[in-house]
């Protein structure tokens, strides 16, 4: 069953002339893990904001077409209702710390306080969410004293604790070091395994290949590819349009040109590349 349904969505920010999203049609099933790839300025973030309700409710501007997520229809609902159903985390971990709380535990409870969850229910929910993301030991620390990767996991936990039906992640690791990236992807893997509906905008294609059920490629506000990770991430079109691609794909493509790569499919990850060369 589709939990996300976008029909002919076109959107333009205020004070701009060009549409950032053009005629987007997208269905995502419940429990599906969808990755969105695209160069800078392709509309990835805007798509994420649209799915999370911030376009048009926060950013204003002109939108046409219909946006339906988790049973809500964009034009007929408020941002308030939207955030109860769709969670959003984004790039800069530092800016996602609310600032309203002195400890990680309180920080995670902030959203629950805002939506009026009773106190007895709050504590176990925060504890469960922290266990899920593996940050239980950070509970009493100040959110500002943490590393980027830890802060991003706190940000994710703060969203997860609100029990969204759909989770939208806009390049959550783009400002993290390799250790932080691994920590955050560890959490994302857990969520995917638990059957959460996740939409992840990301350019680290090797990670995408590991978890995504499906990948769409966004270019100048349009979806140009939509399919399985193995197909989309190795497509020649990505190369033409200036997408970032996996170095293993590049190597195998060169190897294929001189006859060293015999498989029909190109690899995305190291393991696939090693397997392919072994044969």
């Amino acid at each position: 069953m589709a939990i996300v349904n976008l029909q002919n969505v076109t959107y333009r920010y205020p004070l701009t002339d060009e549409s950032v999203l053009k005629n987007i049609n997208l269905q995502v099933d419940e429990g599906e893990f969808l990755a969105v790839i695209g160069p800078n300025g392709s509309g990835k973030s805007t798509l994420c904001y649209t799915l999370a309700g911030f376009v048009p409710h926060f950013f204003k501007g002109e939108i046409s077409g219909s946006v339906e997520v988790a049973g809500l229809e964009s034009s007929a609902s408020t941002l308030d209702e939207w955030v109860m159903n769709v969670g959003l985390a984004f790039q800069n971990p530092f800016n996602q710390i609310s600032g309203a709380k002195f400890t990680v535990f309180e920080e995670i409870a902030f959203g629950l306080e805002n939506i009026g969850v009773p106190r007895e229910e709050m504590k176990p929910r925060v504890e469960d969410a922290m266990k899920l993301t593996g940050i239980t030991d950070l509970a009493d620390r100040s959110p500002y004293s943490l590393s980027g990767g830890q802060q991003q996991r706190v940000a994710l936990t703060s969203i997860l604790v609100m029990q969204p039906k759909v989770l939208v992640l806009d390049e959550p690791t783009s400002q993290l070091d390799p250790i932080g990236t691994r920590e955050v992807f560890g959490v994302i893997r857990t969520l995917a395994e638990k059957g959460m509906t996740v939409i992840l905008a990301e350019h680290k294609v090797e990670w995408i290949a590991n978890f995504a059920d499906r990948v769409i490629a966004l270019h100048e506000g349009q979806i140009i590819l939509d399919g399985l990770p193995g197909e989309v991430l190795t497509s020649d079109i990505l190369l033409e349009k200036g997408f970032g691609i996996s170095r293993y794909t590049s190597v195998a493509r060169k190897a294929r040109a001189i006859g060293l790569w015999k498989n029909s499919n190109l690899p995305v990850t190291l393991d696939e590349a090693v397997d392919g060369f072994k044969r």
Binding site: P14, T16, F59, K60
Partner: protein
């Protein structure tokens, strides 16, 4: 006693005007629009700007305070009430974290925000010379509001350096209210006009798209005219205002 009750009347009138303004902006729904989430996030940043710049100015040993740039900034882009709140909380937080002596002056900060917001709403924040006038009006408000606080709480002579001027005026036989008010009129304009101009410069430096998503982008629109000419007019206006202040001062001291 009769002087006190006369002042109490002024006080009650001032409070009544504020309450009417407050109710009016609440009823018209303007208030809710002004206090968007972005405004609530902007206010702490503005308070921190007030305090950080206030401290840089101390480092540079400049003879001004410049501790309300953030307040004026919020007042312009998010309306007088957001500005007033920023000012008030700035003083309360300054008092609660750095120096408890700052507490009693919060009404001054309240009015700096309120008056600069009202001026901006009236279109007096759209070019250099209008901003200078706004700064001057804010200075007058600030001098007037700080007078009763200085007189009733501190007996006229406060802990700030400008008290030497007050002390001198007291020695020349001026009444305490006149002495404090004149000191304020002498000291405030330079500070508040600079503050307003810096806030204007900051708003001009922000991206149009960012300003457009704030509650009152129309207050920050710049009027046409070459900026060089504007600056000269601004300087001229400042000189005129200073002369006007000197004239008023002469009247207060004479009378």
């Amino acid at each position: 006693m009769s002087i006190i009750s006369e002042n109490a009347v002024y006080f009650i009138i001032a409070v009544a005007i504020i309450v009417i303004l407050l109710v009016w902006s609440y009823v018209t729904g303007r208030m809710r629009k002004d206090f968007s989430t972005t405004t609530w996030v902007l206010i702490p940043v503005a308070i921190a700007i007030n305090i950080a710049i206030g401290q840089i100015v101390v480092t540079l040993k400049l003879p001004v305070f410049l501790d309300s740039i953030g307040t004026v900034l919020v007042a312009v882009v998010a309306g007088p009430w957001a500005g007033a709140l920023t000012g008030t909380l700035s003083n309360i937080i300054w008092g609660a974290t750095i120096d408890p002596n700052a507490f009693p002056w919060f009404p001054v900060a309240f009015f700096i925000g309120l008056v600069s917001g009202l001026m901006a709403n009236a279109g007096w924040f759209k070019n250099w010379w209008k901003v200078a006038v706004t700064g001057f009006v804010v200075a007058l408000a600030s001098a007037i509001v700080s007078t009763p606080i200085a007189v009733y709480l501190y007996g006229g002579i406060t802990a700030s350096g400008s008290s030497f001027i007050t002390a001198y005026l007291l020695q020349t036989g001026q009444g305490v209210v006149q002495a404090v008010l004149s000191t304020g009129f002498l000291v405030e304009p330079v500070d508040k006009i600079t503050t307003a101009m810096l806030a204007f410069a900051i708003i001009q430096g922000l991206s149009k798209r960012f300003v457009a998503r704030l509650p009152r982008p129309e207050n920050a629109e710049v009027e046409g005219g070459a900026s060089q000419t504007q600056l000269f007019i601004a300087i001229g206006v400042v000189i005129l205002l200073v002369l006007f202040a000197a004239f008023m001062l002469g009247n207060i001291l004479g009378g």
